[in-house]
Amino acid sequence: MRHGRWRFLLGALVPALVLHVVFVLSPYAQAFYLSLTDWTGVAGEAHFVGAGNYARLGGDSLFLDAVRNNAVMLVVVPVATIALGLGLASLLRTRRGSAGYQIVYFFPQLLSLVVIAVLWGFVYNPNTGLLNSGLRAVGLGGLTKSWLADPAFALAAVMAVLIWSSVGFYVVLFRAAIDAIPAELYEAALIDGAGSWTTFRRITVPLVRESVQVAFVYLGIAALDGFAVVQVMTVGPGGPDGATEVIGLSLYRNAFTYGKFGYASAMGVALFFATLTLAVLALRAGRNDRLELA
């Protein structure tokens, strides 16, 4: 029996582990090493340059644009998505047709970000797009913009797409969390004469806090990415003039266009630590204020 146990365990674990080590762990490990070299891929061999690549990051204005944009996205995208998701989820709690709404809300989550980006590229088209022609049709022609080509709006336009595409998922998630709240709490609140806003603030929000924190981690990771939407949809891409540059795009361009693999890896490492910090902070916050429901 013992023998069979080990044989089974080996058979169960080893293939997946090999795959994991070869295609996941080893590339991550190599990236750390590469980030300390000047490897261009063409030079044949890599020279160790220490922290040189990291020092260059600080002087790379496009990369700094990317960091700034990702930082803005990191704040705006999770907050807006969670606010919308939570609001809609709690509206859905008590209303007719909620199942149908939930299905529709979830649609964008099902689509590839590429499909979404191509589609929104057309929506934002300044002359023939859905948005501007819609604005003109309802007499708001003055509000039309060259959304993706105007540095003041381009990043907002990108964030709107990211928010649009993820709200549905969090509606469903929060809805499930809300449904897990004992109905008696709401009934008691109703008897106490609490309005729906008070109920939302006093009962719903505190009791789905845990889900909100999870959502922050996931949305944060998504906001640190943004690559697909930016690469497909924006001017340049990453433009105009770096207005929508994101770290992923900088990394991709440096690696696969410029052949600066070492330098690109340094960007990856920076992104790694940003993600790690985000996760740790969010989880810390979670541990401190975890609310236990008896």
């Binding site: 891929g41 063409v42 590229g121 060259s146 001017v235 340049g236 266009t257």
Partner: protein, 473 residues
């Protein structure tokens, strides 16, 4: 699908990504092979006797292997040249391979030391030619260039090519590749549309601005451009600067000389385009349009001019309405003291053929290229693909579409006055900095002075960067 992008002289955007990626890996393997010390050329067949009819000394019964990129142009033209080769050397067995991923197929064969005799190193995933040169993997084509042309015995092959073709294939003084197609950049417009409105194509920038004023009054936007990719509007700007400042200006830019981007020609050209934008002569919304959207708007006569390379006509097939008859004109001259005439055009060749250094039948390979670059072969290619081949006069006597005809006329008018910038292929990050700056310039967000300062800063940083390999011309 997406074939046009593979025939561009300088690969842009996505095609470049793939190319760079593959070239990058190919390189270390190739150099590893070279340092591996397997340098015997003993396997190569001994050449045949050189005669007037056989100037390259082809051994008549030696087999020939040709690997061709089968992209937007297909490989029919290469097969035709092979048929001619067999007609001349009936004993030779010709092995033909038409591939989409040439680089991937031939890279291991370079490493193993048994490459084919002719390679069309083109398309996504082609090998980086500079790397091949550095690894001594390609042979000098001087003998071929000095041989008589296949169907014009009185002229050397070298003299049958369009200007710049030999230079495009020359690395460190040795010509190792011949490019088969030729691309020209300029401003495009619909000839019937202009005739109908009584507009004449302007030869000077002052005339251009005057015409733009006239055009604007009719409710048509004078210009549009492919705003999502600002490199398109860079081309006429840099062309104009090159005409003003001549070859010296281009060399200073390509060689990363101090203050190259502050040369008068460049600042003046930037000022000219700032004015074009400032006067509102660029169709509103252009800045956010992709190339397809901008070009479609232009085909709908919403704008009069659009900048593009000579591929535009085939790209707009099916979009341009019947009778649109687009033609390309040279970029107007900026000043009366321009160093190059109005007719000068930016041009470059692509679709790069080479003979590997370790080919078993190098004479046969060169002979094959002599046949391929003959006038008859080039003519057949032009006819089939509506694309200008790199052989001079290849389109003579053909009934050309309006666009291709205008491209040919532009090349003829330019004579030796063609020019090209190399910095885009040499230093991609600088190209990006220039594109971004020009995008800002034509959207009135920076001044011409800012434009040149900004780019100069990027160029200086690049010049100082010891990790980037430098080239000079």
């Amino acid at each position: 699908m997406n074939l046009e992008s593979q025939v561009r002289p300088y690969p842009t955007r996505r095609s470049l990504l793939r190319t760079a990626a593959t070239a990058a890996i190919a390189a270390p393997l190739l150099s590893a092979c070279v340092t591996g010390g397997k340098k015997d050329d003993g396997e190569a067949v001994a050449g045949g006797e050189k005669t007037a009819d056989n100037p390259l000394g082809v051994k008549a019964d030696a087999p020939l292997e040709v690997v061709v990129f089968k992209g937007g142009y297909g490989d029919e033209y290469a097969v035709k040249a092979e048929a001619q080769y067999t007609a001349k050397y009936p004993q030779a067995k010709v092995d033909h391979k038409g591939l989409q991923k040439v680089g991937e197929a031939i890279q291991p064969r370079f490493v193993a030391g048994n490459p084919p005799d002719v390679v069309d190193n083109t398309g996504a995933g082609r090998l980086d030619i500079a790397t091949l040169v550095a690894a001594n993997q390609v042979s000098d084509l001087a003998a071929l260039l000095d041989a008589p042309a296949f169907d014009e015995p009185g002229r050397k092959v070298r003299d049958t090519l369009l200007p710049g073709v030999v230079e495009d294939g020359t690395f460190a003084g040795t010509t190792v590749a011949l490019n088969f197609t030729y691309t020209v950049w300029g401003l495009w417009y619909s000839k019937p549309f202009f005739a109908e409105k009584g507009w004449a194509y302007p030869q000077t920038w002052a005339d251009m601005l005057a015409l733009c004023a006239t055009i604007k009054k009719t409710g048509v936007a004078p210009w549009t451009y492919q705003g999502k990719y600002p490199e398109y509007i860079n081309d006429p700007l840099l062309s104009m600067a090159a005409k003003t400042g001549g070859l010296d200006l281009i060399k200073a830019v390509d060689n990363l000389q101090p203050n190259a981007w502050k040369q008068d020609g460049l600042v003046q050209a930037a000022t000219a385009f700032a004015e074009l934008a400032g006067q509102g002569y660029i169709m509103s919304g252009s800045e956010a349009l992709s190339h397809t959207e901008a070009q479609a708007a232009w085909c709908q006569r919403k704008a009069a001019f659009i900048p593009s390379g000579s591929w535009l006509e085939s790209e707009q097939k099916g979009v341009a309405p019947a009778g649109f008859d687009m033609v390309m004109g040279a970029v107007p001259s900026l000043t009366a003291s321009d160093k190059q005439p109005f007719a000068a055009v930016q041009a470059a060749s692509s679709e790069s053929f080479l003979v590997p250094a370790k080919a078993k039948n190098p004479a046969g390979g060169q002979e094959y290229l002599r046949i391929l670059f003959s006038k008859a072969s080039a003519k057949a290619f032009a006819e089939a693909n509506s694309t200008l081949p790199a052989v001079a006069g290849a389109t003579d006597g053909l009934t050309l579409s309006s666009g291709l005809g205008s491209v040919r006329d532009a090349v003829t008018a330019a004579g030796s006055g063609t020019f090209t910038y190399r910095f885009r292929t040499w230093y991609a990050p600088l190209a990006k900095a220039v594109d971004d700056a020009t995008g800002e310039l034509v959207n009135k967000r920076i001044s011409p002075a800012d434009w040149s300062t900004r780019i100069q800063k990027a160029a200086d940083a690049l010049a100082k960067d010891s990790t980037v390999q430098k080239y000079t011309r």
